[in-house]
């Protein structure tokens, strides 16, 4: 008998009876304005900037991140200066990215997370030194329940991710440090 059969047989023999069924509940709304999202995003170590407050993105990047070299972008309206070809991608090339500008498709006010589901390479939101995510102000919802209602409307992406703030660790005496392995900073630009 295969392990699969052994496991399933034992479960069938042992499975408890009368476990309650979940039938859903009416969740309370969470305010979903830009300011509500911004307040939570700041609590998790991120930053929110309005697109109209940025005159020139490259000047802004240079000021924020020290240099505007190796800016990789997947936002159509933004011009980067570091391009990667899908066919010839290598880990070394990915590791050069200083700032990645990606498109978020949804923001969640209750936890400051942004949902991303389109990537040239899945490592980009992690390997970049700094992450910038563009988000439409119409795409902010209150809670995770609403987020999954939207995600569920179409086929799930092959890979999708909620990102809430920069990479962080508190493993050394509970001191909170940003930039553990992934981005040292996260800015959400709302347009």
């Amino acid at each position: 008998m295969s392990s699969k059969e052994t496991i399933l047989n034992q479960i069938r023999e042992n499975r408890p009876k009368g476990g309650t069924q979940f039938s859903g509940f009416d969740f309370s709304p969470y305010p979903n304005g830009i300011d509500d999202f911004k307040a939570t995003l700041e609590k998790v170590g991120g930053k929110l900037v309005l697109k109209r407050d940025i005159k020139d993105l490259h000047t802004w990047i240079k000021k924020e991140y020290g240099s505007d070299n190796y800016v990789f972008t997947e936002v159509d309206s933004i011009v980067g200066n570091y391009t990667l070809n899908e066919m010839s991608i290598t880990n070394e090339k990915l590791n050069k990215i200083h700032v990645a500008v990606l498109a978020g498709s949804m923001g969640i006010a209750e936890n400051g997370a942004v949902w991303l589901e389109r990537f040239l390479h899945r490592s980009i939101p992690f390997i970049t030194q700094h992450l910038v995510i563009f988000l439409s102000s119409d795409a902010i919802v209150g809670t995770m329940h609403e987020a999954y209602q939207i995600i569920n409307k179409k086929e799930l992406p092959s890979f999708g991710i909620f990102i809430s703030g920069p990479s962080k660790t508190a493993d050394i005496e509970q001191s909170l440090i940003y930039g553990a392995h992934g981005p040292r900073s996260l800015t959400v630009i709302v347009e």
Partner: protein, 446 residues
Amino acid sequence: MKGHPELAEKFLQDESRTNWHDETLWWVRSKRDAVASEIKDWEKLRDAASQIKEDTLSNLDEYLLEFEQNALKNGIKVHWAADAREHNEIVLQVLKSKDAWQLVKSKSMLTEECGLNDFLEDHGIEVIESDLGERIIQWMKQTPSHIVMPAIHLKKKDIGKVFSEKLHIRETEDPVKLTEFARIHLRNYFMNTKVALTGVNFAVADSGTFVVCTNEGNADMGVHMADVHIASMGIEKLIPKIEHLGVFLRLLARSATGQPITAYTSHFRKPGKGKEIHLILVDNGRSEILGKSHFWHSLKCIRCGACMNTCPIFRKTGGHSYDYIIPGPIGAILAPHRDPIKYGSLPFASSLCGSCAAVCPVKIDIDKQLYAWRQELTGEKSSLPVSFMGYVLKKPGLFNMGSKGLSILQKLIPWMIDRFFKSYTRGRELPKVPGQTFKDWYKKHT
């Protein structure tokens, strides 16, 4: 064999460290309270999470098959492991098939349970833990003392020392510098590894998707840079539907660390172009616990660690006193299933205050299970002192004589009382028996 009391005594020797541990975990518990109170539906969410898990466990065979079918359709390779040994063999086979001699790992309590690292090292594979806390623990040849904060028992001085030793850097206690050194050190491995392993926080039956939550981003760094992703999950990690994630993700990080959500919540449905995902479904005793009336509820656990942070015994005795992979209240009800003799002292490492059950996001009645374990382990027989007290309480004359006698004895020969109640008076004082009994006082005042 050392039980919880003996190991706890060792931890308690360093008073300032013990106090730091106690206060730090209480601070994490307070953060949990603050964020939980911001969510209006908190109690409804706990009920929902408990119900979803009960439903899952009551129909586990069907959900597992649904999950497998969908995952296979998505191009994920699914393996079944009846026990730890089989799980470890599968990992080794995947590594061998890729000619890989290194495995970059993110945090997984299941692989700790399976003893994967030792097994692989015995077969010549280098294992690199990539979560900062886990890497430190690995360097120090220790085990995690907490399921979410594996290095919570260590001070920055200890960590600085091991960094200096392993990375040949000047000793520092600065957490910013240490984290930066770890970033550089581990990125090198991320860049060059072929195979990476992660745990699984939730697997969703209706879409064959699985979710991994981290704060450091180490799980994603590992698997996206590697060619092969191995994901190890206990069969109880399943949930039926995608929308159920909304319930669990609202609860998990808030309960664990007081964050509204972890920094990264990754949903894996299909492997990336030219890559492979191997998912291992591990039983290792779970289907047996499923058949134990009442105890099966412990399988609802989502490993947030809230019961540890709140537990007065855990905070004051440290995770290593439990001598089991999962310490604290949840560990104390899981461990005896593995070995009731070795872990027999764990259900007694509790004041039964019930704080664990009060914070548990999936409403496991941990305190009741601790009590049930005590009944089971002692064969429902009362201990000698309890039987003796029962006898005395039935005889008023004997009781009166005893209470007077005790007060006289304590005055005249306190050492004898202390010796008699040795196991109780170690580390605490026996309360003074008052000269006047309540009965005498009552007589005088009526």
